[in-house]
């Protein structure tokens, strides 16, 4: 059966089961909530190297050509099973609506309500989520839909380190989710604000090879190389644990009562290799100041990778100096983003024009000679909310590879440049 036919049948199946379930639970209006969002974009890059398909050896689509895509179309569904228990599901139609992915599917239990002790102040904020859950690490992952953001593109912190965004151009399964559980507890701190603590036990980021960052491409000039693009490839196999050692995630957030501010600290630790001997440890901080007329956002993350030196996954087909693992290493990334709304109009001021600037920096280098993912990026964006729940966006990006003077000849021969630029126009909607 063809991929598209499978996806179509899967879509029909989900809709059918949704209708049947809604009817069977009765009082569907009271128990069932649905919302969602979607977006489409047009991109034009300049400066990316051309690639070959590693299986066939034939040229892949030129990444510098104009590219149009329906990137996401997601539905969020919540069923109230009974007082204090909600079942939640997000189904995403990604990659031109050709692949359906359940981004999360879990049951949330409001513990004080279920135990009928919700009048207790100290225990009133305790919930447990079990299933395929969104990983509570930094801020972006739990706010990844474009209508919650000011730019269409994602920051490097959520792309190369925290694996929120899958490998482009096949955007499937946006969001970092994993099988496990999250215990969430909050406490009001006087009149100042509240503290929220999420503790998660999940399968974790993993690789079945002896190298964590094992993604590979074949340059049009011939060699196969590990671009060492970070953890893009490693966060999306949530249904199994390759080493039976669970990863632990913690996120502590502070929310101010008087200021539109939340900030937090995140921590991750788990073994990534099949033997369960080598750890990945990540720490990060986030800050969001969301004012009515302006916003300031930022994240910083660092990842320590334990890894055996001297492993070459692609002997004979690529340069050993690039492909051979170098032992333990550290990756890091940060972004700072500011936006201002110079014009508001319309009913309740909900039509507006926003101007956005973001500065990103990432370094995934494992001390090998060169990676194009040791880079910085400036993004200039604008968005126009011209109708209810609908926005048009345009953004321009200028990436600069920091260690380009060490770029090997085949990278330059394939068309790779020091500066990669990108124009993107997009439309987003939510309901």
């Amino acid at each position: 059966m063809g991929k598209r036919k499978q996806s179509l049948l899967l879509g029909i199946y989900f809709l059918s089961i949704l209708v049947v379930s809604s009817v069977s639970v009765g009082f569907a209006e009271d128990r069932f909530q649905i919302s969602g969002y979607g977006n489409a974009h047009m991109m034009k890059h300049d400066g990316l190297p051309k690639l070959l398909d590693r299986t066939t050896g034939l040229p892949m689509e030129d990444p510098n050509d104009v590219f149009f895509q329906i990137r996401e179309f997601s539905l969020f569904m919540d069923f109230t099973v009974t007082e204090g228990i909600i079942a939640s599901l997000e189904i995403e139609a990604g990659d031109d609506a050709s692949v359906f992915t359940p981004n999360y599917a879990y049951v949330e239990i409001d513990i004080p309500t279920v135990l009928d002790i919700f009048q207790s102040e100290s225990l009133s904020g305790l919930t447990l989520r079990v299933g395929k859950v969104l990983v509570p690490f930094l801020s972006y992952n739990e706010n990844k839909p474009n209508f919650r953001q000011n730019l269409m593109s994602q920051p490097f912190t959520a792309w190369n380190i925290s694996p929120v965004v899958p490998s482009p151009p096949d955007f499937v399964g946006l969001g970092w989710s994993d099988t496990g559980g999250i215990l969430d507890w909050y406490h009001e701190v006087g009149d100042a604000g509240l503290v929220d603590l999420k503790l998660a036990l999940i399968n974790g980021i993993q690789s079945d090879s002896t190298v964590l960052d094992d993604n590979a491409i074949q340059l049009s000039s011939g060699p196969t190389v590990r671009p060492r693009d970070g953890l893009i490839q490693n966060g999306h196999d949530a249904t199994r644990d390759n080493n039976q050692k669970k990863a632990i995630v913690a996120k502590l957030s502070l929310i101010s009562t008087d200021l539109p501010l939340d900030l937090g600290f995140s921590w991750y630790q788990g073994a990534w290799d099949p033997a369960g001997n080598q750890d990945l440890t990540m720490q990060g901080i986030h800050l969001n100041w969301l004012d009515y007329f302006w916003t300031l956002k930022g994240e910083w993350v660092t990842a320590d990778v334990e890894q055996v030196a001297g492993t070459n996954l692609f002997p004979g087909v690529g340069p050993a100096g690039l492909n051979t693992s170098t032992g333990d290493y550290e990756m890091n990334a940060f972004y700072v983003e500011g936006s201002v709304i110079p014009l508001r109009y319309g009913p309740n001021g909900d039509r507006y024009i926003r101007l956005v600037y973001r500065y990103d920096d990432v370094d995934t280098n494992d001390r090998a000679l060169f990676t194009p993912f040791d880079r910085s990026r400036q993004t200039f964006g604008s968005e126009w909310q011209f109708a209810k729940n609908t926005r048009l966006r345009y953004e321009y990006q200028d990436h600069r590879i920091d260690s380009f003077e060490r770029a090997p000849g085949p990278f330059i021969a394939a068309g790779g440049k020091r500066n990669v630029t990108m124009h993107m126009a997009s439309i987003i909607f939510w309901f």
């Binding site: 996806s7 009974t82 904020g125 739990e142």
Partner: protein
């Protein structure tokens, strides 16, 4: 997507929905009122909870939590609120956090004037004597309340959009309590 992954996905989804359908006959918990507040208004929340009759079950929700909820957090919060007979919102900050939310229950908004949260049944704003009516639609039906007798006509009340309570003569929380009682009695 491989056929094995697709089959696994279909099986898991079927089990999840089957469990949800099985849970349908379970008894609902009894919550009469969901009181939505923000950390700024904790004192008002406590005073209102104290003013409500003891036979009414009240659950409180701090809307500041939505700042750390995930992207479907508003929808999940609304799912919880829908389980109550009446929803009461204190001041504007929760209305800002819940902008765009729509509930299928009676909605009583106390000393707030933001328009972003809706009810498909009945939405009424309660303002104290120093109220500013400029945020409201010019066609909004307003009513001045100086005594409990002004609340006697239930039908007239439900066609009113804004109640302006003379807080020198009448405590606002007493009016809220009365409106909750009338909503629950319907």
């Amino acid at each position: 997507m491989t056929s094995i992954k697709m089959r696994s996905l279909v099986i898991k989804t079927t089990i999840l929905f089957f469990l949800i359908s099985l849970a349908a006959p379970l008894a609902w918990g009894e919550v009469d009122v969901y009181l939505i507040y923000s950390g700024k208004n904790k004192a008002e929340k406590k005073a209102l909870m104290k003013a409500l009759p003891k036979n009414i079950t009240v659950k409180a929700y701090n809307a500041d939590l939505l700042a750390v909820a995930d992207y479907s957090g508003i929808q999940k919060a609304v799912s919880k609120f829908e389980k109550a007979g009446v929803i009461v919102v204190l001041r504007d900050r929760p209305l800002e956090m819940l902008k765009g939310a729509s509930v299928n229950k009676d909605l009583i908004i106390v000393n707030g004037d933001k328009q972003g949260m809706k009810s498909s049944r009945w939405r009424i704003y309660l303002l104290d004597g120093a109220a500013d009516l400029s945020p409201f639609d010019v066609n909004a039906t307003t009513k001045n309340v100086g005594s409990m007798a002004d609340l006697a006509d239930k039908d007239a009340l439900r066609s009113t959009n804004v109640l302006i309570v003379d807080d020198k003569k009448l405590k606002l929380n007493k009016v809220v309590s009365d409106l909750i009682g009338k909503s629950l009695a319907r």
